[in-house]
């Protein structure tokens, strides 16, 4: 007996291939995926270029009792390249590296004198002595963090370490004929980060601290993606099923306006979808918790230990705003689902459209997650209002400083945007529109 029927396979193939609705998600995905890549790539590459090419402003606290740190500073000052490290020498002579309160005071003092400073480098008293004894030498930096981004401050801090490492290698091997590359790493790098907006010092490598903080703004679009797919799917199907099951005509003759019908559908299906999404988020949270366990386990220590938690970074009020914004945004995605469903002749086409369109929800959020907010200039208020960017902007802002007083207005504006979309859809949503769309689709299918 045959395992399958060749005729049935051919029938299945023809049936699917001849349905243009099947091709829509593939075509949209083929176009959207590279677009998403570009959206993420462009700001990332620009941030990397800026961080590596631009001048870097560094304040130096030189406590070295020898002369090597001084030579290093002179050497850097004499370099005349575009990407040079500009050094401001301070007159501070004593720093307690383990006292975050003192570190904060010193940072704020330096920033008041040199506002453009991006890093503070502290040369210890035994800097020259250790180098001369061919021992590893400690170096301490404070990264001044004005905005939380994946790339930027971290790359700049690394530039400083590289410059010092290279200088020490060349200094130690001078006259020996040995290439500097043979010394792997003469520095013991110790770091702190000063978060300007929060006026807080966080001990730990800038890479770990900033990546962890950036992860929050990166996670928001991912969470949004998970929620929006579920919600859009549910609302789109709920609306399209009215058309498919022939209940739409009845609905449209009830003594209700089309806006009332769409908004009621939106609220009802959103409530169910929100409950479902809440469960998804819990699942996602547990998944993240489980997979992150090996990384944050006490047995494993990557770089310097990081001394912060998100609870201490975001105020309770800001957290409420972020959650409210997330709800407003999911409400928006539910509305998009309603729009898709209202204009779909059946649930199949609605489901087909939701997949690629939910990716679109991801794009603006990702862009904002990777780019410095200051880059957007006068368009920034727009990002605060647009439902797809608002929660990401909020979380970035909440972590690096605090949300502005008009935040509640931004959330209201985001909800108004959603309602406007529903009202516009109600204007175009009618049996006539659906008949015309279906008529065109059937003509296209006949071709």
């Amino acid at each position: 007996m045959k395992l399958f029927s060749r005729q049935l396979i051919i029938k299945e193939f023809k049936d699917l291939v001849r349905d243009p609705r099947i091709w829509i998600p593939f075509i949209l995905s083929a176009v959207l995926m590279p677009a998403m890549g570009l959206v993420v790539y462009a700001p990332m590459i620009s941030a990397v270029e800026k961080a590596t090419v631009e001048k870097l402003y560094v304040a130096v606290i030189n406590m070295d009792e020898g002369d090597i740190a001084g030579k290093l500073i002179d050497f850097q000052n004499n370099i005349s390249v575009k990407s040079k490290i500009v050094i401001y020498q301070t007159n501070i002579s004593n720093v307690y590296l383990n006292d975050t309160k003192k570190l904060k005071e010193i940072t704020e003092y330096i920033l008041s004198k040199y506002p453009s400073v991006e890093n503070i480098v502290i040369f210890p008293r035994d800097f020259s002595k250790k180098i001369n004894n061919r021992q590893k030498v400690r170096i301490f930096t404070i990264t001044v963090v004005r905005e939380i981004t994946f790339i930027g401050s971290t790359v700049k801090t690394q530039r400083i370490f590289d410059a010092i490492n290279n200088f020490i290698r060349e200094y130690v091997l001078n006259g020996t004929g040995i290439k500097p590359d043979v010394i792997v790493k003469p520095l013991i790098e110790e770091e702190a980060n000063y978060i300007v907006g929060k006026k807080t010092v966080l001990l730990g490598s800038s890479m770990t601290v900033l990546t962890s903080l950036s992860l929050a703004s990166f996670l928001i679009p991912i969470i949004l993606m998970i929620i929006s797919v579920t919600i859009m799917q549910m609302t789109a199907t709920s609306m399209a099923v009215e058309n498919e099951e022939k209940t739409l005509e009845t609905l449209l003759t009830l003594p209700l306006t089309r806006t009332q019908i769409l908004l009621s559908k939106l609220m009802g299906s959103f409530t169910v979808a929100a409950i479902g999404s809440f469960m998804s988020i819990i699942g996602f949270g547990l998944y993240m918790f489980i997979i992150m366990q090996p990384v944050f386990s006490p047995r494993v220590q990557i770089g310097n230990q990081v001394s912060f938690s998100f609870q201490t970074m975001i105020s309770p009020l800001d957290m409420i705003y972020v959650v409210a914004s997330l709800i407003a945004t999911t409400f928006f995605t539910a509305a998009i689902g309603i729009v898709i469903g209202a204009l779909s002749s059946d649930t199949r086409i609605a489901s087909t459209m939701v997949g690629p369109l939910s990716m679109l929800v991801f794009v603006p959020g990702m862009m904002v997650a990777f780019v410095k907010l200051s880059t957007f200039g006068s368009f920034l208020p727009l990002l605060y209002i647009l439902p797809l960017t608002q929660p990401i902007v909020f979380i970035k802002q909440a972590i690096s400083s605090s949300l502005p007083p008009e935040t509640l207005l931004y959330i209201l504006a985001s909800i108004i945007v959603t309602i406007i979309i529903i009202v516009i859809t109600a204007k175009i949503f009618s049996l006539e529109t659906l008949s015309n769309l279906q008529h065109r689709l059937s003509r296209f299918r006949r071709k």
């Binding site: 022939k246 005509e249 003759t253 009830l254 003594p255 306006t257 009618s430 008529h439």
Partner: protein, 244 residues
């Protein structure tokens, strides 16, 4: 005032012409039948009267109101039963009739009264508390008929009201339509493929074919004028005449 006044109504869907200038009127309290084969233009006419789609040209008045302009007012006096009206799978018949009554009547007592009428018209016993996905085609249709008539509209538009019903239930629905029309003075505009059914409950009819009304008037007058023994015979002879 007429319940429905239609004058030279046309409707095009792209290159397809659905209605080619139809004219007829329905008196208040009448049960009026619009009969014709599939694709004749019955459903399009009903949809235009219900304000669901706009006509391409021509005029239409429902109790003096224009469905295109007075859409919201019209919705309060019209109740429409589409030919292939579906039901919500996971809602019970009772819940469905209750929500409709509450949408039409903000007054609780009025809504409850409408619901009672609806349950009586549906007449499906305790099955009314079951989810509608478990209903037979006939039960679903009776729920829909109940939904339309229970709100005591001034005009009920019933597109094939007995579609899918067996003989016994179809007869029962016809009786209900008659009763509601008499009891509440509701004007009924209905369509049917079943000519004998139309002859049974309608006073006046319009025979529509290929978007044109062939004849219109009192059934008794039409049968006499065309020497036909029933509507079916009249319809067949008229349609064949057009075909020739």
């Amino acid at each position: 005032m007429k319940a429905v006044e239609i004058n030279n109504l046309t409707k095009n869907f792209g290159a397809t012409i659905a209605l080619r200038g139809i004219t007829f009127s329905v008196d208040v309290g009448d049960i009026y039948g619009l009969i014709g084969p599939n694709g004749a233009g019955k459903t399009t006419t009903f949809r235009i009267i219900a304000g669901l789609i706009p006509p391409t040209s021509g005029s239409i008045k429902v109790f003096g109101l224009n469905p295109l302009i007075d859409t919201e007012k019209i919705k309060n006096i019209i109740s429409y039963l589409p030919e292939d009206a579906g039901t919500y799978r996971n809602i019970t018949g009772y819940e469905f009739l209750k929500l409709v009554s509450e949408i039409y009547f903000s007054n609780k007592e009025e809504a409850e009264e409408a619901l009672e009428i609806g349950i009586r018209i549906a007449n499906i016993g305790n099955r009314i508390y079951d989810k509608m996905k478990t209903y037979s085609k006939g039960m679903k249709r009776r729920i829909q008929v109940a939904r339309v008539l229970m709100v005591r509209p001034k005009l009920a538009i019933l597109d094939e009201p007995t579609s899918g019903l067996d003989v016994i239930h179809a007869r029962e629905v016809r009786r209900v339509i008659n009763d509601v029309s008499r009891e509440f003075g509701t004007t009924i505009l209905l369509s049917s493929h079943n000519m004998l059914e139309v002859q049974d409950i309608c006073q006046k009819v319009a025979l529509i074919h290929q978007g044109r009304i062939l004849v219109e008037g009192l059934i008794t007058d039409l049968l006499e004028e065309y020497s036909a023994s029933n509507l079916e015979e009249l319809f067949v002879s008229l349609v064949r005449g057009v075909a020739r």
